[in-house]
């Protein structure tokens, strides 16, 4: 069966089966390997994407349910040479260790900062509550999100939007 989705701004028509998860579709068919599979059961947040404006566990979406959806993955935020301010902040704050959870963390941060440009620490923790990190203990990740909020405020607007 065929679905139409918009991924990082590009419209795609794709042939899928119901047992293709959105995660598989993004990784295998579109090569967007920034989307990670951790638990495969919606508990870890490594597979997080922004789907129609909301955080979504892509491992829990049968591909046909993504028909007509707009998807943003970490590849849609910045490139290696032109990092998004949130990505820059993660680097500067030392918030990345093994890195596996980071694409999900960055997207959860993006969703949070889009809604609340000046979040409190409590709001940051709540915004990231669906993403598990087993290395950092979260402190530096929280710092990174706060730093990103400051950077984005200085910029005035998010240049990647």
């Amino acid at each position: 069966m065929q679905i139409t989705i918009t991924v990082n701004g590009a419209k795609r028509e794709l042939e899928v089966t119901p047992y293709t998860r959105l995660l598989d579709l993004l990784r295998e068919d579109l090569g967007l390997t920034g989307v990670k599979e951790g638990c495969g059961k919606g508990e870890c947040g490594a597979c997080t994407v922004i789907m129609n404006g909301e955080l979504t566990a892509s491992c829990l979406v049968p591909a046909p349910q993504a028909d007509q959806a707009e998807i943003v993955t970490v590849e849609g935020l910045g490139t290696k040479d032109d990092l998004h301010p949130i990505q820059e902040s993660f680097v500067e704050a030392g918030a990345v260790q093994c890195g596996y959870c980071i694409p999900g963390m960055v997207l959860a941060s993006k969703r949070l900062l889009d809604e609340k440009p000046k979040p409190t620490e409590k709001e940051v923790r709540y915004g990231l509550s669906g993403n598990i990190c087993r290395c950092t203990g979260y402190a530096k990740i929280i710092d990174a999100v706060m730093l990103a909020a400051d950077k984005l405020a200085v910029e005035g607007s998010d240049s990647n939007d």
Binding site: P18, Y19, K41, E43, P62, S129, G130, N131
Partner: protein
């Protein structure tokens, strides 16, 4: 939730052969009901899929017939009709916690929705899915019992309205027939002052299956409690409404109630089990405390 075998995609690829036969994604309810009437229990019904994909982890390819309700926009509305709130079965947890109408009229349900899983789960999981999965730990179920919700079950030919307290028959079991779909949740509104409390006990704040939940809703005329709904999750094979406790509250004022005694009565009226989220003993002791906490919270809200 325990995983028996290691990862995943490689495994899934090699077991093809048993392929899906039909994936139905109807765009109106009538069509969905016709499909349900024809394929009945052969169908796997997909709402938000957050339970469906976990339950069928590594064997999605074994599902032959899918009925995906995601395009039924008519089931995504929250509206008031005849002094009742009508919530479509495909309304998500996120919709519930963000809805001004729900926050204003059913704050206990809004609070429970906010405690479901994580942002990633709340954006997809639906109230109808939570009900039809019928887990004793389903976070929305105790609030629905406390608000005396009814469920509209539709077939191709007709419909029936079932009370929430009659709906659940066992762990992950309910009285739905194979040709029925849950389409609407109906909750009475009231002119009286209505206050309530929601408490979820779990090991973490996010992404946790409840060890125990409590929903208390009270209606007041002046200071007098004229109606009470007390319900708990994860303390019995189904979410339970504690009518004995409610009866003690009726026609009393909050001042008349002995909170601690009520807590103890809650303890003796539930039947929890030992599992990996908590022991029977732990749940019984916590039940006393959460009841006292809930009543204190309602007292605070009423007096403010």
């Amino acid at each position: 939730m325990m995983r028996k075998s290691p990862m995943k995609q490689e495994n899934r690829q090699t077991i093809s052969g048993a392929d899906f036969k039909e994936y139905f994604q109807p765009e109106n309810l009538q069509k969905a009901l016709e499909i349900k009437a024809e394929y009945k229990e052969e169908l796997k019904v997909a709402a938000g899929s957050t339970d469906l994909l976990v339950a069928n982890y590594e064997k999605l390819h074994e599902i032959e017939y899918w009925l995906d309700l995601v395009k039924l926009d008519e089931l995504k509305e929250i509206k008031v009709k005849d002094n009742k709130l009508h919530i479509g079965a495909m309304v998500t947890h996120l919709d519930l916690m963000d809805s001004d109408l729900i926050k204003d009229k059913l704050p206990v349900l809004a609070a429970a929705a906010e405690d479901v899983g994580s942002p990633q789960i709340r954006s997809r999981g639906t109230i109808g899915g939570n009900i039809c999965t019928s887990s004793p730990a389903g976070d929305l179920l105790a609030p629905l019992l406390s608000y005396e919700a009814s469920f509209k079950l539709q077939t191709e030919a007709g419909e029936r309205i079932v009370k929430a307290e009659d709906f659940f028959t066992g762990p992950k079991r309910n009285l739905m027939e194979a040709d029925e779909l849950l389409t609407e949740i109906i909750i009475p509104m009231t002119e009286n002052k209505r206050e309530g409390a929601w408490i979820k006990v779990g090991r973490r704040k996010a992404l946790v299956i409840s060890t125990l939940t409590l929903a208390v809703v009270m209606e007041f005329e002046g200071e007098k409690i004229v109606k009470a709904g007390v319900a708990m999750g994860s303390v019995a094979p189904t979410p339970v409404r504690l009518k004995g406790i409610e009866a003690v509250m009726i026609d009393q004022t909050l001042k008349d109630l002995d909170y601690k005694a009520l807590g103890k009565e809650v303890k003796s009226s539930i039947n929890p089990i030992d599992d990996l989220r908590g022991t029977k003993e732990y749940r019984e002791d916590v039940a006393v405390d959460v009841m006292v906490r809930a009543l204190n919270e309602i007292e605070r809200k009423v007096s403010s």
